[in-house]
């Protein structure tokens, strides 16, 4: 197969072209005993409670500053499993490729998936590749499903959140959404903003090792941003959430880009940002430990769970005023002026 080639419908036909694509790219890259069985599925052995999560990735552009759709497809699902308090072990990987995608780009994505999976310590054990006609996709869509074993000390659920718990964030917000937007057709603007895509499984695992069930909730703030996670916490627990704007970590360039477009960074998508709701007795230590981790060096305690303002998120602004933070409705749209 030449790197100059493009994907065509034959690559999804199930015939010899499909076989060549799978043998030359997929099996060669992800080679492991489970996948190499080339069965319809994989037979796995897992001990203990398991967590499973699935996600589809439809980002455009597929290559962006700081990553690509393949890296995102691994990190995204790994993080969802990790947020359940599990250490992810295996991933499924399904591609829907639009006719016309360059083989070279497909290979770059596959290689990136492999490198990211290795970094996360997960194996790709089953998968699927379909090709759709030109115009019926957006270059490439990827679905991943991850399974992992729940950490023995994990006891994570909304029900465990109580008044006084502290909310800790691991890094700068709105980075991924603005990196994508800065390269989106029709809106390109010069910036050095890079996506924050990162795997969070090791840091989540470390926190569970050390603080066990004092960690009441993990939640990554992807689509809908930090505001949506905080709103879910308020609505699902029936308690209040209080945060301080001055403690929200945000890069100056990202903040400026949001300002120009009239977007609220609280609602902009992230890929490597998570919130930990922890017992107040361990909050200082959790924060200190997180700040030593490369993926969490900008960690901040942004607020706490309150008895008052039931089901609402209240934010104290930088000038000391208060506002409600509501869930995102529809898509954030840049304003006229």
């Amino acid at each position: 197969m030449s790197k100059e080639d493009i994907i065509n419908l034959g690559h999804g036909s199930g015939g010899s072209m499909t076989r060549t694509l799978l043998d030359d790219v997929i099996f060669k890259t992800f080679s492991n005993p489970l996948l190499n069985q080339k069965h319809d599925g994989s037979i796995l052995e897992l001990k203990g409670k398991i967590a499973i999560s699935t996600d589809s990735f439809v980002v455009s552009p597929i290559f962006f500053r700081g990553g690509n759709i393949g890296e995102l497809a691994v990190n995204g699902t790994v993080n969802d499993v990790a947020m359940c308090g599990a250490q992810p072990k295996y991933l499924s990987l399904a591609f829907i490729v639009e006719e016309g995608l360059k083989i070279e780009e497909f290979i770059a994505i596959v290689n990136s998936i492999k490198a990211t999976a290795d970094r996360c310590g997960v194996e790709i054990v089953t998968g699927d590749t379909k090709v759709v006609e030109r115009g019926k996709g957006d270059k490439i869509f990827i679905n991943t499903t991850g399974v992992g074993v729940i950490h023995p000390k994990a006891n994570i659920s909304m029900e465990r959140i109580k008044v006084g718990d502290k909310i800790i964030i691991n890094g700068n917000i709105a980075q991924h959404g603005m990196a994508i937007m800065s390269q989106r057709e029709g809106l390109e603007f010069e910036s050095d903003i890079v996506s924050d895509t990162a795997n969070l499984n090791y840091i989540a695992n470390e926190l569970l090792d050390q603080f066990g069930d004092d960690v009441h909730l993990f939640r990554d703030a992807t689509r809908g941003g930090v505001a949506s996670v905080l709103s879910e916490i308020a609505l699902d627990t029936g308690k209040g959430v209080y945060i301080e704007e001055k403690n929200l970590p945000i890069d100056k360039q990202v903040s400026a880009a949001c300002e120009i477009l009239g977007l609220d960074p609280l609602y902009v998508a992230n890929e490597g940002v998570f919130l930990a709701v922890v017992d107040q007795s361990v909050a200082t230590e959790v924060l200190r430990q997180m700040q030593t981790n490369q993926n969490a060096k900008n960690s901040m305690c942004i607020g706490e769970i309150t008895q008052s303002n039931s089901k609402k998120v209240v934010m104290e602004s930088v000038i000391g005023g208060k506002r409600i933070v509501t869930p995102l409705i529809g898509e954030q749209l840049p304003r006229i002026c």
Partner: protein, 364 residues
């Protein structure tokens, strides 16, 4: 972030809040004209930090909110005829009589959400066999870019590009509000972005005629509290004049080059405001010389029937006669998912600002 962080400074803002509190001796109603100012007042929690005597009244300054329903219906009609309609993002969720532009898009219409009218000219170039219409909405702020798109299309010799104009002008709206028999406004915060283009000479005769202070004001917390302090100072001293708080952006004569482009392509004419009605000389219409680029003429869009949902009190909100939460439908039948009127749907609308941000216990 220069010019932003220093205008979000806690200490400086508190100083001005104290100055206002020390200065004020009686109740004053101050109207901020611009939806961006409303948004910032509520989002930063400034309304709760002001002394009770200072009431901020939210003006009509959201371009999306004041665009007549009939024009949205017309844009949808064009879409359904196969025209490519291009629009700014915050216009697409505003409900027309039957549906919004977004809903028309979901049904298969060719709606393009753009960030600049110049992109619409590119769309017209790329689709020579299709008609392309840019929905040119906004106050004086967006008029120069919309005018430039017409000049570009002319230069390119494009016959398939036109604009559906709904430009509204601030000073006539201020006069219409002041002429209303129920008007209770004591001072205005003028819209900083509009004045960046137009300057503020036009505001002087208004201040003089109605004996009302007008302070041209920016959008950051410190801008707003400083602007309010300047307005309160004038009111307490029984004075009235036009002051410029936003001097880092606004010059008295405005942006000469932008004004020249506007006057080349547009002429001033009567304009219908959603919820307010027709205001004489309150809008830009396309000038005779450029009428070939007027979608209204090209597609024979006539009539300006201004339909409002019967339960929507947008008119009273936009004139500052009622607060959003005084509307019986607010937060119930009318919410951002199911807006009855534009002030709830637009990101700068007063109703949406209260719905999203206000911690006032009267709200929701």
């Amino acid at each position: 972030m220069k010019y932003l962080e220093e205008y979000r400074n806690l200490e400086a803002t508190n100083q001005y809040l104290s100055l206002i509190a020390n200065k004020v001796t009686k109740p004053w109603n101050i109207m901020e004209i611009c939806g961006g100012q409303t948004h910032s007042l509520v989002r930063n929690g400034i309304l709760e930090l002001l002394p009770k005597q200072v009431q901020m009244i939210h003006g009509p300054g959201c371009p999306v909110c004041v665009t007549p329903v009939s024009l949205i219906d017309k844009a949808i009609e064009l879409l359904e005829k196969g025209v490519i309609v291009c629009s700014f993002g915050d216009m697409i969720r505003v409900p027309g009589t039957k549906k919004s532009l977004l809903e028309a898009k979901a049904e298969g219409a060719d709606l393009r959400v753009l960030y600049s009218p110049l992109e619409a000219v590119e769309v017209a170039k790329a689709n020579p066999n299709r008609e392309v219409v840019f929905f040119a909405v906004g106050f004086e702020t967006t008029a120069p870019a919309n005018a430039i798109s017409v000049l570009h299309a002319e230069k390119e010799g494009l016959k398939n590009y036109s604009i559906l104009v709904s430009h509204v002008l601030v000073p006539p709206a201020m006069e219409a509000i002041l002429d209303d028999e129920f008007c209770n406004i004591d001072a205005f915060l003028g819209a900083g972005h509009v004045c960046a283009i137009m300057g503020y000479k036009e505001y002087m005769p208004i201040s003089e005629k109605y004996k009302i202070p007008i302070v041209i004001t920016g959008f950051e917390p410190l801008d707003l509290v400083q602007g309010i302090y300047m307005a309160v100072s004038q009111l307490e001293a029984n004075e009235y004049t036009v002051e410029n708080q936003y001097a880092r952006v606004v010059k008295k004569e405005g942006n000469i080059a932008a004004k020249e482009v506007i006057s080349k392509v547009f002429r001033v004419g009567d304009r219908e405001w959603r919820g307010i009605g027709k205001i004489p000389n309150s809008g830009y219409l396309i000038s005779e010389e450029y009428k070939a680029f007027d979608a209204g003429i090209k597609f024979q869009i006539i009539g300006n029937d201004n339909v409002l949902h019967t339960k929507c009190i947008a008119g009273e909100i936009l004139k500052g006669l009622k607060k959003p939460y005084q509307c019986p439908a607010f937060g119930k039948e009318c919410n951002p998912t199911n807006p009855l009127g534009a002030p709830m749907v637009s990101s700068e609308g007063a109703c949406a600002a209260y719905y999203h941000f206000s911690v006032d216990e009267n709200v929701l």
